[in-house]
Subunit: 118 residues, 2 copies
């Protein structure tokens, strides 16, 4: 049986977190993940969960716009709807090793969330 | 000869704008492009140029992180360095038709640029 591709892993992770199955999502995240997010670098699965879970919890809907990948890298582009921001697209570019995401570049616009808080 | 893929077109467009060849970059943009950017929808190549050119002009460097695509869609993920913001990653998810980009979802974090202006 062929090993899961990076895109397989990223897609399952995405389907889990966008349906608020945070435990399932974290099963695809390496313990020592490094994530370069808009607010700075996040290290380790505990801090990654603390970053992602509150956002996942407030999701109203998501829409996968595009997903591509090769053996080691995958990119997901999607839109999200939450109470503070009606449309907040994001992109995650992840590196996968042994079935887990070990690095992520996480891109979204913080400005509308910042404005909603003020 | 096979037609150019969406990724071929997106890659040439990216190589052009990130080397400040704005005319060359615009040759890959459809006249009636629709671009959903962080600040809202941009319509038409003139407004798209007015959006992209000032940013391209201030580029110090860029680094292509990942690029993928199929016949109609391509995604580029990259980092940019400009005087106001040392690291501003972006993602462009584009739809290509007849060799030109007709739709783009453009994702980046406006917050550091907003903060640099204040």
């Amino acid at each position: 049986m062929a090993a899961d591709t990076a895109l397989d892993v990223a897609t399952r992770y995405y389907q889990a977190w966008t349906t608020k199955n945070i435990d399932a999502a974290m099963s695809y995240i390496a313990d020592d993940i490094v994530c370069d997010a808009p607010a700075g670098r996040i290290k380790g699965v505990a801090d990654y969960r603390a970053f992602l879970a509150p956002f996942a919890e407030m999701l109203i809907s998501t829409d996968l716009i595009a997903s591509f990948g090769d053996d080691t890298t995958a990119v997901l582009v999607y839109d999200t709807q939450t109470p503070p921001v009606a449309s907040a697209p994001g992109a995650e570019c992840v590196t996968v090793e042994d079935g887990k995401i070990i690095y992520s570049r996480f891109i979204f616009d913080r400005l509308p969330f910042d404005q909603a808080r003020q």
